[in-house]
């Protein structure tokens, strides 16, 4: 699946996009765990619940199933307008 990072999340991941495919990742919670493992600096932001998640360009809060063709975005609170 394709993971996209925005704003200051990119400064932590040092990457604005990556392909992650693992047998361990079957749903959004598992992806979050995987990301915290890969990017320990994200943990405190996860814990403060300030990160937003979108799956295929829709905001997702519940723990939904993911498949390899999904595009998942991780980003901080928005500030457009």
């Amino acid at each position: 699946m394709k993971i996209k990072y925005f704003a200051w999340i990119k400064e932590i991941t040092q990457n604005d996009e990556e392909e992650i495919n693992s047998d361990e990742i079957d749903n959004l919670d598992q992806l979050k765990k995987f990301l915290m493992n890969k990017y320990p600096d994200l943990i405190k932001h996860f814990n403060k619940e300030i990160l937003r998640f979108a799956v295929n360009q829709e905001y997702i809060v519940e723990n939904i199933k993911l498949n390899s063709k999904d595009e998942i975005a991780v980003f901080p609170p928005v500030s457009g307008g």
Partner: protein
């Protein structure tokens, strides 16, 4: 119509471009947001706006559809810029077109509120010596 673009825009041309499609439009309300020279007591030099383009289109489309359910709207236009924008630059235009003025005022304000809350855009504000990612509070 939704446009996510780097380029500046001309409000007259954009607004009248939609208005000219309908002879029953009696009212348009347009909001323009600008880069201010100060924010939270910091002197702003410029901002850099990042956007998740595909999602921004999808979310703004949803907001316009919500507004159309609540008000008698003939059309809506949203233009949001991204990239580096100097102080005084236009950031966003939201125009709502209706027969009567109340619908255009209320829907334009509604769309701006939701745009600030839901549209995946981020402002990185540059001061004299540092920069900061903003977060919309209202």
């Amino acid at each position: 119509m939704i446009k996510i673009q780097k380029e500046d825009f001309n409000s007259e041309i954009e607004i009248e471009g939609i208005k000219n499609l309908y002879s029953n439009i009696g009212a348009s309300t347009s909001f323009v947001g600008y880069v201010r020279d100060n924010n939270n007591n910091n002197r702003v030099q410029s901002i850099n706006i990042e956007v998740y383009k595909e999602m921004a289109h999808k979310q703004l489309d949803k907001i316009i559809n919500k507004a159309k359910l609540k008000w008698q709207l003939l059309d809506c236009l949203i233009i949001h810029r991204y990239g580096k924008l100097d102080v005084n630059s236009k950031i966003v235009l939201v125009s709502c077109f209706s027969e009567h003025r109340k619908d255009s005022f209320e829907s334009c304000s509604f769309i701006m509120d939701y745009l600030k809350k839901d549209a995946p855009l981020w402002k990185n504000e540059f001061y004299d010596k540092n920069n900061e990612w903003l977060e919309n509070s209202n």
